[in-house]
């Protein structure tokens, strides 16, 4: 009984950002001629520890790096996968666009009925893209992605699976946004 309780309570509750899969789907970002994007440091306004993902019983599930940093990295990788270059922002950096981001949702919610648990992975980032030439405009949008999954217990592995898949899906919302593409094509 003690062994069972111990197994329940311990175990890996730090998720590695390297385990988050990369997108392998097509994106209209590729239709834009190669650009350079300078990324400012993303903010996390969730009001929790920067690594915190969700809490179950006595366990906290966290990411091995700050969420805002991992989200920024994932967006950079998606731009680069589609032929663009991403650099860290510095006042003298030569880039076509500056990108700022604010993560305001990144959590796992539970909808529990008697024999089914619905897991709801909820992610959101506000992205602001500014052309470095003045008067060429700013594009800003709140990107949100929510995925749902039901199973009998909603145990740790199901929770990890749905949360690990949440970030690529959020990034896909950005990389398939026609309004963003139209702005970048101007």
């Amino acid at each position: 009984m003690i062994l069972a309780l111990t197994i329940m309570l311990i175990g890996c509750s730090v998720i590695k950002s390297a385990d988050i899969p990369k997108l392998q789907t097509g994106s209209p970002l590729k239709s834009i001629s190669p650009k350079v994007f300078a990324f400012k440091e993303f903010k996390d306004i969730r009001g929790t520890d920067p690594h915190f993902l969700w809490h179950v019983g006595v366990r906290d599930f966290t990411l091995d790096q700050p969420i805002a940093k991992v989200v920024a990295e994932a967006i950079k990788q998606e731009f680069e996968r589609n032929g663009h270059r991403c650099i860290d922002y510095a006042p003298q950096s030569k880039a076509d666009y500056t990108i700022e981001g604010t993560v305001y949702k990144y959590s796992l919610l539970f909808n529990i009925s008697f024999v089914t648990t619905e897991l709801i992975a909820s992610t959101a980032v506000k992205l602001t893209v500014s052309h470095t030439s003045p008067n060429k405009g700013i594009f800003s949008h709140n990107y949100e992605y929510e995925s749902r999954r039901s199973d009998t217990t909603g145990g740790p592995q199901s929770q990890i699976d749905i949360m690990v898949q949440a970030l690529p899906s959020l990034v896909k919302e950005i990389s398939t946004d026609q309004k963003l593409v139209e702005f970048l094509q101007k």
Binding site: L5, S27, F114, S147, D161, T176
Partner: protein, 229 residues
């Protein structure tokens, strides 16, 4: 006594292992797998929407847990009866909503959006095949380089905060190459509505955002063809 404890421990461990279907394996396209494809047949199908309103209600679930805690003998009957009652209620909701749902329209919409997106880009001839009796062999014999099957697998009306519901749609796309007989793409795409409605609203007015969701999914599938070459 020790044997009983070991058995009880195993039961406790197993009860916390999630009983769930593992995620479906996805196969993604790469630029080599698309080479030489000039003419494609697009076939679509759809499953009827399902309401998951009652089965995902939290408040009643907690009440049942309280009853079961006070009267433990009721645990097992409740585990069977309660979900059955909710399932029956959701079946009623689904039947009512489906009176306003035209499956053929859903199939037409996803296929036509997809064909439109493909024909804008690299694929010279993408044709929507409405005749569902034609199998892959017949389509290949008719001269298509690939057969693309779109299946709107799930249209779920699930609970949102409060008494609102939203739409979640999961669609599968499978592409079969004629020359090799191999499946070069087999993946899912999902999208949800950003609007919230009541269940009654859907029953009276139909699934308002469904067309927008289907267009989005179709475009996302088309991007694989257009931008992974």
């Amino acid at each position: 006594m020790i044997k009983r404890r070991i058995i009880l421990s195993f039961i406790l461990i197993l009860s916390f292992i999630s009983c769930t279907t593992p995620p479906r394996k996805q196969t993604y396209i790469n630029n080599e797998s698309l080479s030489g494809i000039k003419k494609v047949a697009v076939v679509s199908s759809a499953n009827a929407p399902d309401a998951l309103f009652s089965i995902s209600a939290r408040e009643s679930g907690q009440a049942v847990q309280v009853v079961a805690a006070i009267f433990p003998l009721f645990i097992f009957p409740m585990m069977v009866l309660e979900p059955a009652a909710r399932h029956s209620e959701d079946k009623y909701h689904s039947t009512t909503i489906n009176k306003n749902v035209d499956l053929m329209h859903i199939e037409d919409r996803i296929a036509q959006s997809y064909v439109r997106a493909l024909n804008k880009g690299g694929i010279q001839i993408a044709e929507y095949i409405k005749d569902k009796t034609q199998d892959n062999r017949q389509l290949i014999e008719a001269g298509y380089d690939a057969v693309i099957r779109l299946l709107v697998r799930e249209i779920l009306i699930s609970r949102r905060p409060g008494d609102y519901v939203g739409l979640n749609v999961v669609t599968n796309c499978q592409i079969l190459r004629a020359d090799t007989g191999k499946i070069i793409l087999d993946r899912d795409e999902s999208a949800s509505s950003s609007e919230l409605h009541t269940l009654d609203d859907y029953k009276i007015n139909g699934l308002k955002e469904l067309n927008t969701i289907l267009d989005k999914i179709a475009n996302n599938f088309a991007y694989d063809f257009l931008y992974l070459k």
